[in-house]
């Protein structure tokens, strides 16, 4: 599937509905785009360095031969070098900052491939450009001039039907706390901390699994997650299993997601035995 490169570069958003294999091909393309943007940044920085060196050399020559032309060239080259150096930080900044996000979506898609029909279409949303929403701002009285702000950003979601008829939806929200204050030496400081909320929802077919609630009670098992993640909420109803987990680092989200799905399916697989036995 051809990706909308212009939209991706301008808005930093990738939305698609396609089979997982096709999505993975798209993600490879996005990966290539991110690498190309990264290479461009390096190239621009190299040009900037060369321009500044040329500017300095021209300035030296201008001083030796007392030439206004060389002096003007020195000014032009050095200014261009500084301009390019600044531009190197601006160009592709968003893709550079959140380049791990497409890897994350890739990992989540790969895990689902084991249990999805190759033709089944999955809807995905991936935001590579940060668009955090301010939740609240309040004073941070423990520090001088202290202030703290809380942001959230829903940057990734994937949803589709698995082979058993279950509709699986996963979403990842980045929760950020930004604290700014003046330290005892009078310097302004800003500290940012992020956590990731992973929400998994399984809408299971009752003709296959019956009601999963008795199975959850009989199993009486915690959903396991990596040591740095915590389960915040587990809800089992006659139609859905919904789990929320908090993850400390972005790189741990794929494993946490897989473990949450495994934990939910431990319940469903047991429920299916009961549903099968009752028939």
């Amino acid at each position: 599937m051809a990706i909308d490169t212009a939209k991706l570069q301008k808005e930093g958003v990738y939305d698609a509905r396609a089979p997982l294999r096709s999505l993975l091909e798209d993600l490879d393309q996005i990966g290539n785009m991110v690498q190309a943007a990264e290479a461009k940044r390096h190239r621009v920085r190299l040009y900037s360095g060369v321009a500044m060196i040329v500017g300095l050399l021209s300035a030296v020559v201008a001083g030796i031969v007392n030439s206004n032309a060389f002096g003007f060239c020195a000014f032009l080259a050095f200014t261009a070098g500084v301009g390019l150096f600044i531009y190197s930080f601006v160009t592709g900044r968003d893709l550079h900052k959140h380049h791990d996000r497409y890897d994350l979506l890739k990992e989540l898609s790969k895990t689902l491939q084991h249990d999805a029909d190759p033709q089944a279409k999955f809807s995905v949303h991936l935001a590579l450009k940060a668009q955090p929403k301010l939740l609240r701002a309040e004073p941070f009285p423990q520090r001088k001039n202290g202030k703290q702000e809380f942001f959230e950003e829903d940057f990734l979601s994937i949803g589709g039907e698995l082979l058993d008829g279950t509709f699986l939806e996963e979403s990842v929200t980045e929760l950020t706390r930004k604290r700014s204050y003046t330290n005892p030496r009078g310097k302004s400081k800003t500290k940012t901390r992020s956590r990731y909320q992973l929400a998994v929802r399984l809408g299971y077919p009752s003709d296959v699994y019956g009601d999963a609630r008795p199975a959850q009670q009989a199993l009486n098992e915690e959903i396991r997650v990596p040591a740095t993640a915590t389960i915040k909420d587990v809800g089992v109803s006659e139609k859905t299993i919904a789990v929320k987990a908090m993850v400390q680092a972005e790189k741990e989200i794929p494993q946490t997601s897989a473990m949450v799905c495994l934990g939910a399916y431990r319940i469903l697989n047991l429920a299916r035995r009961a549903a099968g036995g009752a028939k």
Binding site: D115, D164, A215, R224, N269, R273, A274, G276
Partner: protein, 91 residues
Amino acid sequence: MNPTGFACPRRVGFLFPHACDRLTPIGCPDCNGGQVNDPFAQRTDRYGYNEYDNYSGVASGVYGGPHDFTEADGETLVRKRRTYEDDLNKS
């Protein structure tokens, strides 16, 4: 349509068991070319869930023994996707 006539009897899957739809076991990453008897139960990439398919001791009176989940269950678990020809609403 399966031209080879091969029907894999093994259960595969990461989250739940389902029938294997491969046309040959050669090069199969799940059963390793026919070497693994039950690829679903014997997966080793489920992080902390080492005994994922083992429910022994869990309300056995209600839910039966640990080996009552068969290949046939795996097959029936897979829902046939509605194809274009099956959909009567399509012209």
